[in-house]
Every structure is written in C-alpha cells, then in structure tokens.
C-alpha cells in the first residue's frame, strides 16, 4: 500500500486510543458515595 495509508491508520489508532483513555479516566474520576460504620446490622 502507499505510505500515506499507514499514516492515516496510525492517526486513527492514536485517536481511538486517546478517546479510550479519556473515557477510562472519566469513569475512574467518578466520585463514590461512601457509607461508613454500617457493615451488617
């Protein structure tokens, strides 16, 4: 294939990886709501 096809593929892969990283980080950053001292009644 022509060289520029590889370049486009590489860019697409990079964009997808970046999008995944952002999605994963946003999920990680979601806050929790934590209840303490209530283990079992």
């Amino acid at each position: 294939m022509d060289w520029w096809v590889w370049v486009i593929l590489a860019v697409i892969v990079l964009v997808v990886l970046l999008a995944l990283a952002v999605v994963v980080q946003r999920k990680r950053r979601r806050g929790r709501v934590i209840g303490l001292g209530g283990g079992g009644e």
Binding site: G31, R32, V33, I34, G35, L36, G37, G38, G40
Partner: protein
Amino acid sequence: MIPPSETSAILLRARELAGRPVVTLGGELEAEIKDVVFQSDGGRIAGFTLRNEGLFSRARKDALPWHAVHGVGRDAVMIRDAGQLVPAEEIAPKQAARKGNVLDDRVLTDSGRELGTVIDVVLQGGAGLGVVGYEIEASAALGTAGRRVFIPLPDTVAVSGENLIVPASAAEFVSEDLSGFGAAVDEFRTRLREGRDEGAQN
C-alpha cells in the same frame, strides 16, 4: 463564619458534588471534591475525599472533614484555608471505603423485596448535611420498572455487603421528582416515629 447549617434546606444529589471546586476564603483553588463520605449511623456527612483538578490527576492523600466546611454552594465548596484538611484515612479508611460505596448497590426492604439499584444519594442541608434518601433505578417490584425514583431513608442506613436494607414502609413514600421529595422524607420519618412510639407503649 457561616456555619454549614446555612447550606439551605434544599435537597441535592451527592454525585453532583463530585468535581466541585474546593476554594479557600482567600480565593485560591485548593482541590476538587472526589467522594462524599457519610456515617451510616445517623446519615451525617463526615466529609469529602479530594482530588486535584485536571483530567489525569490522582486522588489526594488529604481529605476535607465536614467541620472545616465553610459553605456548600452551587459552584464551590468553601473552606477557610488548606490548613484544616486532614489525612484521607481519617475520613475514609481504605478498607471501609472500598466496600462502603453505595452507588450501584441493591436496595432491599427488610421484608426481602428488591426495590432497585442506587443511582445517586439525596442529601439535605439543615444542621449539617445528611443523607435522606436514594435515587434508584426501580425494579419491577415497584411497578415503575426502569424508572428513576426517590425513596426516603430513616436516620440509620443499614448496609450489608452490596445490599442496602430499608424499612418496608419506605416503598409507600416513593417520589418521582426531587421537589416533592422533602415532604416525602418528613412524612416517612414521622411514620417511623409513630411506629416506634406505638411499639414503646405496648
């Protein structure tokens, strides 16, 4: 100092606080809110864990105890200065915190009926900030399967592993929106009190 009791008696969703800026009275951005931490016994907010701003930042090793909160507003949580932060272990001990997240937990009545899963937690200001209810994705048992509704909680939030136990009567005080929910909480808690008083008289 405005005591936290002046966070108005409005209701707010705990998850809305995640990411809210923590700002000193000197006008400096100290951190962002990460987790909301409450005491199961009494439902009172113990404090907040913190993270730095920015998409790729980690959790901070310090945390904000409730008594250091100057005010909780629409756009920021105000503190007098950063000197009042404490080690995160004091607010959210690691072991307890890992298991204590109520989001996505199943809500069961004490008679074994599943009401739904927790999407959010409803807080109410007053004398301090406290947990008064859950926003849940309702199960079929509530007759509103898949819908988001609010159920009120008593003073004590019972947790057992991944299940949260509520009194069976809570199902009678389900609200569809937040604006009417405050009244539902009051009525529900009055009902519980009456039940307790009756029991004490017998």
